[in-house]
Symmetry: C2
Subunit: 138 residues, 2 copies
DNA sequence: CAGGATCCGATCCGATACTG
DNA sequence: CAGTATCGGATCGGATCCTG
């Protein structure tokens, strides 16, 4: 029990964060899955092997360019394999690696937290926006 | 066991993702904590109440402007409370709300996954970059 | 101390056109 | 089908100056 005037402080969430060098490595993940499309690709590939066009059709709104960039970066990071079959027309299959699959647990946790709080967040935003009309924040 | 020529497909990771409307709500979280500084602020505030300058000193490299914007958005979403003491000079304290604290679990999971895979990712990148010299990806 | 306002370069991303 | 290449608008974020 903390008594008296001492400041209540919980132990660090992670070793050393907040430094510009990202020692805790969180930024590294966020730079990969924090972008606009990576999570969607991971979610889709979590259901099985997919071809390029299949991915594009499944992920509403993604452009050809962004899908290419996204799967390439996921491949570079070892989260996705890219298999080219020398047929005509060409056929390319994408699949999660074991590391990619381990990431789906995190994505699931993300989705669960979202589902559990997005209503409270929306409500908070409504109140804040009503209390701060014409704010540049948002 | 799946036998024969049927495609192996695992059940959906989340209900309905991949649509432009983000029904699974993942984007909502990512739009908040996926930016450059929010996670760092949450990590710092997970340790206790902080004043504006304390946050800025703790988070290496963050500009005044971005700290302001970041805490304002966190406040708007109901993850952080902002308490102004009408003293001179002014004193403003930031603190995680219960919802903000619940988010730290997710951040912890993020940090753990990062720590467990960042070496494998770095290695994968080295190999990919060596195999794809002069690529525009990255 | 805790910001608000402004300027401006960097990056992201969509649209479009072209290719093996 | 599965890309690559290029252009341009929008957004992000840093630097700087100013204020109660």
């Amino acid at each position: 029990m903390s008594v008296g005037h001492t400041t209540v402080t919980t132990p660090p969430l992670v070793e050393s964060c907040g430094d510009g060098e990202d020692r805790c490595g969180i930024r590294e993940v966020l730079d990969r899955i924090g972008d606009k499309w990576s999570v969607m690709v991971v979610v889709e590939l979590a259901q099985g092997v997919r071809r390029f066009r299949e991915l594009q059709r499944a992920i509403n709104g993604i452009s050809q360019r962004m899908l290419t960039l996204t799967v390439r970066r996921l491949e570079r990071d070892g989260l996705v394999t890219r298999t080219v079959y020398p047929t005509v027309p060409p056929q390319v299959e994408y699949e999660l690696t074991p590391m990619g699959h381990s990431l789906t647990h995190l994505v699931k946790a993300l989705a669960d937290w979202s589902a559990g709080h997005h209503e409270a967040i929306a409500e908070s935003r409504r109140r804040w926006d009503a209390a701060n009309p014409g704010s540049h924040v948002r």
